[in-house]
Amino acid sequence: MDDVTLVARVRDGNTHAFRFLVDKYRNLVWHMVLRMIDRREDAEDLCQDVFFRVFRDIGKFRGDAKLSTWIGSIAYHICIDHLRRNKRDLVTAVEQFTPAMLAKVDIPENIGGMDRTAIKKLVHRVIDAMPYNYRIVITLFHLEGFSYREIEVITGMPEGTIKSYLSRGRQIIHDKMLAQVPEIKAILFETN
């Protein structure tokens, strides 16, 4: 079922169509919410809130953006509201972020060599330790495959900021990997 038909049916109050919509977009919403919200216990409730809002506001969807972008935007704003309710220094935290703050990222086990699984775990831990802006932009771009323009629609951030978060975030992860996995550092900086 394509998105236009799906939206029309959900708009008519068809709960079967709504079930289909939830199944189609649940991973997108879950990834976004989980990346933005630290507390996993709240994440499932927030996912429910997102889909209730989608059902309530589906009449406002004009179709000038993709349905995934529109749902992503709802998820983003619900998470922001949640963060604002729970953390007053939300904006300050992002502005004051420096890569040095990642020093506290704990590494569960000794990573040896180019062990892909362990390195991936490290990458995810580094991402989790970043401010929400970096996390969400990295998730939307790399994991969900949204374009800069679509991320702009979802988050309201200017395209330049998005690109900056992406490149800086990637650099931070890269640097952290080099710092935490000495063998990688040795490989990259060995003198041939």
Binding site: T15, V22, E44, F52, M114, K120, R170, M177
Partner: protein, 118 residues
């Protein structure tokens, strides 16, 4: 593997990691629970809307009746209004009893039965 290849492999691992999500899944029953909750909400809204409509119809009918009785004889005293004004406490009590019984029957019980269905 030379330095360049190793650098590329590191880049590939990073790309791979960024395109994956930690293995934390939404519970498999998420969609069912969500749709059930939505159906309950819709049922509750429908029952309340019906109740509001019925109460509105009753009040509307009473208002029309009052208007029909009142306007033709505006200047003279109408016995039925005098009677109603004199006994307003009894009438208010009756109206409240009617309202709550009707609410219980049309909203509360119906919602209760529908809820058991989900």
């Amino acid at each position: 593997m030379n330095k360049m290849e190793k650098r590329d492999e590191l880049k590939a691992i990073l790309d791979e990691a960024l395109q994956e999500f930690p293995d934390i899944q939404l519970p498999s029953a998420f969609t069912d629970t969500l749709v059930r909750k939505l159906e309950k909400r819709l049922a509750w809204r429908e029952v309340l809307a019906e109740f509001g409509l019925k109460i509105g119809l009753v009040l509307g009918a009473l208002s029309v009746l009052a208007a029909v009785l009142f306007f033709p004889e505006k200047n003279s005293e109408i016995p039925i209004f005098t009677y109603l004004l004199q006994n307003w406490q009894v009438l208010a009590a009756l109206a409240l009893i009617f309202f709550f019984t009707y609410f219980f029957d049309q909203v509360f019980l119906r919602f209760l039965f529908r809820r058991n269905k989900y």
